[in-house]
Symmetry: C2
Subunit: 210 residues, 2 copies
């Protein structure tokens, strides 16, 4: 498999974690987001949305959207499941994941911040925008799991929810958010103690740069 | 089951379509979004995110996030599947769905437009914002299915992709987007010819108002 990504992209990071948890080998193809390499014609032929990540399977299929890729990996490589077996719990794990993937991440990614700057926002204003989005979202996330045991978001096994949370916590720090969600912070710490999360971090990628 | 929703909410609309396609009975509980009823304390106890829709199951579980609810319904009531059987095709249907649920809808919903207005945007500017978001998103959506046959987004059976598309097409019209995506428009027409889509429309709901 080939993973098209970028070290800093939190959507790519999600897929890296899923691949690492499942112990799957893959080849990296890097696309430097800040240089706009995701909009190069040859990449647009592969993924017309011009977004990373994309996963090329061994059969040559090109899969896009990080959550769709994670669900695919979970269906095709069911060892080390990313979702619990119980349908209600699966729905709760997915709801937490979408609370990040739909309600937080798209509102603070590079594309939207660029759009805001194009409309006259300065750096302080876009940072404030991102902070507010993340703070509102994390308030909801903390409540969504208040009845769940740790150490991970949904009990004793890592799920898709943890895969979404860890990269988003990193984004929060990058935007200067003061972390004040004890459960979320404890989950992040528990995850980062695992080798699969350790080697998926942006700093551990070959294309990492300061 | 009880569906907590609002006639105009496109996220609620998605769940209505899924329930209707599967022929499932449910009770409606309406929360008037423009009156802020989704932030009433009793609803926040049910759904701390203060978002609709939420689905209360017969066992008293409260499920949130429209896509998580649709996946739950598909797992628990597998007749009339919302996803194809093949994992690659499932991933493509989900990717199309997330292209709407993550890349378009959150950037043009009421909450974000209110935030923009709070930062000084006038009505014309928020409309322009929503139009741009939808146009960019639909460009990508049209490409994502260019190799798929009709009449629906992914062939001869309705999938989650169609459930996401039809409400978003309606949003596009509300924001004055000039529709110029022949495939998306043909899919919408094919869907709206089906009784399940017909009776899920906002205009067909008991809480509808002009």
């Amino acid at each position: 498999m080939k993973l098209h990504g970028y070290f800093r992209s939190s959507a790519t990071w999600r897929v890296r974690i899923a691949l690492a948890l499942k112990g799957l080998d893959y080849e990296n193809v890097f696309h430097h987001l800040r240089k706009g390499e995701q909009s190069a014609p040859e990449y647009l032929r592969l993924n017309p949305q011009g977004l990373i990540p994309a996963l090329e399977t061994d059969d040559g299929d090109v899969l896009t959207q990080s959550l769709a890729i994670c669900e695919y990996l979970d269906e095709v490589y069911p060892a080390v499941p990313l979702l619990p077996a119980d349908p209600v719990l699966r729905a709760k794990v997915r709801a937490f994941s979408y609370a990040i993937a739909c309600e937080i991440h798209p509102l603070q990614n590079l594309k939207i911040l660029k759009r805001l700057k194009g409309l006259g926002f300065d750096q302080a204003q876009t940072d404030q925008w991102a902070q507010t989005v993340i703070e509102d979202g994390f308030e909801a996330c903390e409540k969504l799991i208040e009845r769940q045991d740790g150490p991970y978001a949904f009990g004793g096994s890592v799920t898709l929810a943890d895969i979404l949370l860890v990269p988003q916590m990193n984004n929060a720090r990058r935007f200067g958010v003061t972390l004040r969600w004890p459960r979320l912070q404890a989950i992040e710490a528990a995850c980062l103690a695992l080798p699969a999360f350790q080697r998926s971090r942006p700093e551990a990628q070959p294309d990492f740069e300061v």
